[in-house]
Symmetry: C2
Subunit: 212 residues, 2 copies
DNA sequence: TTGACAACATACTGATGAGTATGTTTCATG
DNA sequence: CATGAAACATACTCATCAGTATGTTGTCAA
């Protein structure tokens, strides 16, 4: 948190996130990022131990940003389906609002990363894992309440959480700030879909079927 | 299609897909793939013009495999919600069954790829785009029918398709062949969730709410 | 049987980029 | 005003690969 209060570090993080999100982590050299900053590699290496640490810092920041947006709705008092919808919408809004940071996270979700891993990077990875677990646990908790209340379908929680979170990540792949839809309506639709994905399913008789 | 009837090419494709899916495209050298094949780079370059073409071949194969699994259910006669559920389940099953190929597709979804792009690769990319469009159109069509029938929620089709497809991609990130769940139950749950995501939402009164 | 081509292996080049070693400047502090 | 350290810039090294150029082997048709 102190590290992010540092203005210079944050500028580097922003530039790096933007570049990584645009061209991919592996296709972006530290010289590229430095150029975008109007500086040189020396500046980056003075603040971050390695490229891997830089990526981890972006990932951690991404998770933290998302958590900050979603947690208030988790803490508030509300029935499961309303709470879930609000949290889902907040998550989608986060994806759209800080697109670059979250893109990096998704790209690194496969697991590998760079070959050499510093101690500092290793610790960062652990912290990120802990944060992500805590984050998922919030949703797990709400889902459990909803299932207990008979509103949500009783199914494997791990699969459920990972699945609808992937759906909420969708804007990362296609959202463009200058697109026709505003971010609010997209976030709302995604939240609606996420809620539908967990609710007890109720298929209405088709209108055409009745007509026939 | 003729190209894939070639046994040697398919073996290279399999080895490449496995390696790419495990360590990431950029972290995997052609020498690595050749070693996995018990051969050298020469073999690969004899069958594929560049690393980019190899990746494209994997992507195309992935889309084709998925299409082959889903299309029968699209062609069959059934009410929208049943057809959609069957297609979604087939998609999820495809993801799990040919995990490696589909992982490569998702990793390359950001858009960039290698710097140099051969003519051959460019054509492959166009073919892939066409295939993917046709694929999405199938779902778009079913969704339109369901909306017309009053079963599916009337919302932006593009957002809908891209979103629940992302959810169906989820197993790519965490499914392990030796996992506790069998592939069938996971595919079923994902299909259930996808259907719920598009159906007209119907929130049951909470049991606890009634008790209170 | 011979040449011609497919199907590779071997050995190189060349560029790219992460990381480092070593300046240089600013600035706070004693 | 001296001095140290923070905050960079500059100029390297060195390993990694994608791509290429060329050699080798088998096979088949004329």
């Amino acid at each position: 948190m102190i590290s992010i209060a540092n203005t210079t570090k944050l500028k580097i993080l922003d530039a790096a996130a933007t570049a990584f999100a645009t061209h991919g982590v592996d296709q972006t050299s530290l010289d590229d990022i430095a150029r975008a900053l109007g500086a040189t590699k020396g500046k980056i290496y003075h603040h971050f131990g390695s490229k891997g640490e830089l990526v981890c810092a972006i990932r951690k920041h991404s998770v933290q940003l998302t958590l900050d947006r979603v947690h208030p709705y988790f803490a508030a008092e509300a029935p499961p389906h309303e709470k879930f919808h609000a949290m889902a919408k907040a998550h989608a809004t986060a994806m759209i609002s800080e697109l670059a940071y979250h893109r990096v996270v998704v790209e690194e979700m496969r697991g590998s990363g760079t070959g050499t891993i510093t101690d500092n990077e290793h610790n960062l990875r652990l912290e990120i894992t802990v944060l992500q677990s805590k984050y998922e646990d919030m949703f797990r908790s709400v889902l459990a309440s909803g299932i207990a209340a008979g509103q949500f379908r009783d199914q494997d929680l791990s699969v459920t959480v990972r699945s609808f979170l992937m759906m909420l990540h969708a804007p990362i792949y296609w959202y463009q700030p200058r697109g026709p839809q505003n971010s609010h309506s997209i976030a709302m639709q995604l939240a609606d879909m996420a809620l539908g994905a967990v609710l007890v399913t109720h298929v209405k008789k088709s209108v055409t079927a009745i007509v026939q």
